[in-house]
Symmetry: C2
């Protein structure tokens, strides 16, 4: 007697046919009522279906829907590390913009592992995502260019699209969009801020040597030194990973070896926080004895004491722009199979210095 028609025992899957049967209509009608197409459906059928849907607590199977051609567009966010504030803000921007359009967001973390990145891109390709957004500075090997170009073409062939955010853009005619910020100019402005305050001996903590963002920040600083006619002392540059331990250790070492610096130009707000602690531990005051600047303008910057003068990077905006770019391209794709000339695109957002309390003129000038 345990027939399926009684509904109450339909514990597992409720299908569209169950609904149709119970409402006394065809599956096609149920689909039309639910899929909000503008196919005309009589009010009686509509209300009958809706009632049954509520009764049975039915939801459509997204996989079947996708398979049949309809289906919610999904954006994949691939990120090195969810706990990084900067990345989290980009992700927020992407997710927010996605939600606004009714898109779904899948996230995967790569943990800086290229193998895992590869695996994830393929996984996302399987999912048939509308776009893949790759976040975070990358190591700019030749191999990187090759790998990304392959990703881009694979995704493109599958009707998807690759968006690189805060990463080196791709050379050549590769179907990918890059969303970037003016990294070098930000560093230029930040270093200029210190130089124009009178600092000459500036300890630079750009970050890891191979990371694209670190390179850009160091270049910007170097250009500022040139512009101000101040010799750039490579002995005052110390490399290391983007974390506070690096900031701490680098300052501690510099205090022993080249203690005449009057300011610290940190590659990141987090690095600046570490540097600040090391200075305090050595009995130095910030900014009275030593000035500090950061980069990123994450919430931490204004939570430190003194509040950190830093470079504002519009991370959340970048995320939004990234998704918009992907969505636009998707819309445009419907036109013709023939590729447009604007296959690859490079969007650059501005940065600016946020002046807070961590910079003062060097002591001897006061």
């Amino acid at each position: 007697m345990n027939q399926r028609k009684t509904t109450s025992d339909v514990v597992g899957r409720v299908t569209i046919r169950d609904v149709a049967e119970r409402a006394g209509v065809s599956a096609a009608s149920v689909s039309r009522v639910l899929s909000s197409s503008n196919y005309p459906v009589s009010d009686t059928v509509r209300s009958r279906v809706m009632q049954v849907v509520r009764d049975l607590d039915y939801v459509t199977n997204a996989h079947a829907r996708s398979l049949a051609g309809a289906g919610t567009p999904t954006v994949a966010i691939l990120i090195n590390n969810v706990t990084s504030a900067a990345f989290a803000h980009i992700a927020k921007g992407v997710e927010g913009a996605a939600t606004l359009r009714g898109w779904l967001s899948l996230v995967g973390t790569t943990g800086d592992d290229p193998e895992r990145e590869l695996a994830l891109v393929n996984l996302m390709r399987q999912q048939g995502v509308a776009a893949v957004v790759l976040l975070g500075g990358a190591y700019d090997y030749d191999e990187y260019q090759l790998r990304m170009a392959r990703f881009a073409r694979s995704l493109d062939a599958a009707g998807s699209h690759l968006v690189l955010v805060g990463r080196p853009s791709l050379q050549g005619d590769v179907p990918a969009t890059t969303v970037d910020y003016d990294n070098e100019s930000g560093a230029y402005a930040m270093a200029g801020h210190l130089l124009s305050a009178g600092h000459r001996r500036i300890l630079a903590l750009p970050g890891p040597a191979e990371l694209s963002t670190a390179q850009g920040r160091l270049n910007g600083a170097r250009r500022a030194f040139e512009a101000y006619g101040v010799p750039f002392d490579r002995g005052l540059v110390r490399r290391g990973p983007y974390d506070d331990a690096y900031g701490y250790a680098a300052v501690e070492a510099a205090l022993h070896e080249t203690p005449d610096f009057t300011a610290v130009l940190a590659g990141t707000d987090v690095v600046a926080a570490g540097a600040m602690q090391a200075l305090r531990a050595a009995g130095l005051r910030v900014p009275e004895d030593v000035s500090i600047t950061g980069y990123d303008d994450i919430p931490l910057a204004s939570q430190l004491t003194p509040q950190l003068t830093t470079v504002h990077v519009p991370y959340e905006e970048m995320g939004r722009v990234a998704l918009r770019a992907a969505a636009d391209r998707r819309k445009g794709a419907g036109a013709a199979a023939g590729r447009k000339s604007s296959d690859s695109e490079h969007l650059v957002l501005g940065t600016h210095v946020v002046v807070r309390d961590s910079v003062r003129p060097p002591k001897r000038l006061r």
Copy 2:
């Protein structure tokens, strides 16, 4: 001569049949080669298929796969705010554990909007996710209980499972798992730490009155006061949202109205950061003049100067536990349709005080 041959005209979707045809085998064989079932396939067929798969850069369609019964389990992470460090760490734990098992992670942000939360749970139900993990403190209305119970039952009926992390658990026989930490004990210990250092006039900034976590933290503190025989002055309690502006404003106001406090018991590390700034702005030193404690032990706590004494909450571990619970339950579900008695489950993780540099005995005792 490096032509891609026929491949070039298969621009859009490459299906399993395309692969089969090109390899001169049936679709069934291709499926068997790729799905790593232990169905016996001859080496010649296998290698032929693999070759074509590489040539065509074929990936299986995950939607079709899911529809056919196989398919990657997916966990949905529903989170108020990606930029909150605590939530980000939970999410990291969930995501990491998911990845480890080959699961996928979908995220959605609710932005504290119950409507959006509802919509998201339904969306995830459509996706046929294996589990939904709901993060973050919630407002503990009666309606909350009802709503969550409905979610839990809906998901359960669809073969999925609801996991509540850092939220009030559900009353009654609701098929949901709760992963929690010992919030009240943490607060008890933290307040006890201040009391045993000699503080008696302690400014409490528990957070918003209605939030479940804030309530628990205040209760713990109150119990500590009782245990130490110290009267609990409600005039020294100031409510507000969990952000640094609240910490700043509350301390500023307290400095005018009840300036005799010697310590601040903040409901959150971020709140503590705001409080610390307000004290500094008023010319007070931390911890020499006023002690401060936090709660959460996010990275910020050790980036502040002085480093913050706080309560460590095992956020990432909670995330891992949450996913494990969901996975275990899923495995167990295959056994019998009949429900076990352990339909709802409540896991509680421990907390502990991390002593750093932001607490000293009050001045008059030194």
